[in-house]
Symmetry: C2
Subunit: 313 residues, 2 copies
């Protein structure tokens, strides 16, 4: 079967470090073009264009595009690419607002093209195993702990703490995406405490309370914090009503279930994204998941804001 | 045809002033029971219960319920009522978070019951006429002006300016619901400035910038403000690319189109809600519209916060 010819739109760090290698190493895709506004080097001999309309025009036989820009312009880009007959891939967060995600889904359907909006953390083998282990069970206790060092992961990125930058929910959406993937029942934000540096708009930390309607909310909690130096913590602990205890750690790469040897998945998130994208293309089927992003928007809507110490990089 | 037997859950001001009379005067419904936690008087001889589970148990032949509680508990109530085999009506905002709205929709589908989540302002004849007038056109200029006096409409309601109370978006969602009803193309929040009293969590005013991808965002604006004394202003002005100019005023009750006599609808929002609910019940068809609420959540997520003068009732 011929490979799908794919172009990357937006060639920043994540496209360079993750998408491009995953595509190049995939049996299903051929990296045929890159649109790179900032004009940095493109890998090997891949044709590179300054704008995506130029790319769409010059490499007319692209089957698909991976839209790797910042979230703000994604809806417009997605609409243009769908109108040009391309299938589209969007990694988290899928767009600048949740309303835009629904629009992308509708346009893909109207165009008869595939839209795949996904979240890299969901593509860990350990996350899938956790979802399987929780199927049919009921969660009694949930503790999300997502603590990392903003200076280490986002040095100098002032926009990320500005309005529309999502603040701590930029990494926090990874935790939300694991939650919506593994929880055996729907989960909602019941309250949120947002800690906002005196000189910023976005939260640098958040305490979340969740609800399932099946357990007291105080047993379903989340702590997100960007002020953690030293070891980084990306963990989700779950206890079910029938006594199963499991812990996802390393951002979803590692699963421990009491009484079993740990499952440590390979660093395989982006290759798995492209495997699933190929399956969806083979089946002409879209998959647009707005649920993790919706939890983020809900947290902002319900959030109580507490000012904290000013933050500088 | 026999009337649908309906119960009201939550018998506060809006249920008493709007839902109950609309039901009593409807040819399609019979007001058969009321659940009224606060225990105020119920109209005429309608059976009244202290809790909705008690109502569902004692008046087992209810066809439907109108859930008129504050938004927080609505998802749980909706889930319980659907599980008990009841069709449900929810007026704005449909639930406490947007994620919960999708859950209600899924549960109704799974239960084979009708869920109708609607917004009263959409039920004005003038709003429907505006939507018809804009069909197939392209909006060039949009100005939403929603200015009212919080002390007049919400005296002493501190919760409305607290976290989760939605602030100015409590009335502002009415404007959003008209927008999503009349706009001929999808509309998104592109930025929001939220004005938050120094002693409160919720915005008392907001400047909104919208986007359609078809016009410069600066031509698509909204101003919401709860600090307006004197005359109250609930207006939406629209100009299309082909020169049509229309103004909705009085919260959607009045439509003026340049060159035509004004259309002034009757005060008919809630009767129209129940007419449409009856049609949906006749057709066993749900209609769950989350779009206006989604715009509100998006505005909170993108919103830049500016502190303003402390507010006291």
């Amino acid at each position: 079967m011929a490979k799908y010819k794919i172009g990357i739109i937006g060639f920043g760090k994540i496209a360079r470090d993750q998408h491009a290698p995953a595509i190049v190493n995939s049996p299903n895709f051929e990296l045929a073009a890159i649109s790179n506004v900032s004009g940095g080097p493109s890998p090997g001999s891949i044709p590179s264009f300054a704008t995506y309309p130029e790319m769409l025009k010059q490499v007319a036989d692209l089957d698909a595009v991976a839209i790797c820009t910042p979230p703000g312009p994604r809806r417009t880009i997605a609409a243009d690419c769908l109108a040009a007959g391309k299938n589209i891939l969007l990694e988290k967060p899928p767009a600048g607002t949740v309303t835009e995600v629904a629009d992308i889904e509708h346009r893909a359907k109207a165009a008869g093209k595939v839209a795949f909006a996904t979240y890299h953390a969901q593509h860990n083998a350990a996350v899938k195993a956790a979802a399987a282990a929780l199927t049919g069970k009921r969660v009694k206790v949930l503790q999300v702990t997502w603590k990392e060092d903003i200076r280490r992961w986002h040095p100098g990125q002032d926009w990320i703490l500005d309005a529309g930058g999502f603040g701590i929910f930029d990494p926090g959406i990874n935790a939300m995406s694991i939650l919506t993937r593994i929880m055996p029942e729907p989960i909602f934000i019941s309250s949120a405490e947002l800690y906002v540096p005196a000189n910023r708009q976005g939260p640098i930390a958040a305490d979340l309370s969740f609800s399932t309607g099946l357990q007291p909310d105080e047993q379903l909690r989340g702590v997100l914090d960007w002020r953690q130096t030293g070891p980084q913590t990306w963990e989700i602990d779950v206890e079910t009503t029938d006594g199963l205890k499991l812990k996802l750690s390393d951002g979803g790469a590692r699963l421990e279930i009491a009484g079993q040897p740990p499952l440590i998945g390979p660093p395989d998130e982006y290759p798995d994204i492209y495997r699933e994208f190929a399956s969806l293309l083979d089946a002409s089927q879209s998959k647009v998941d707005a649920a993790p992003f919706q939890l983020v928007a809900d947290a902002f809507m319900l959030g109580r804001r507490t000012p904290v110490e000013a933050f500088s990089f």
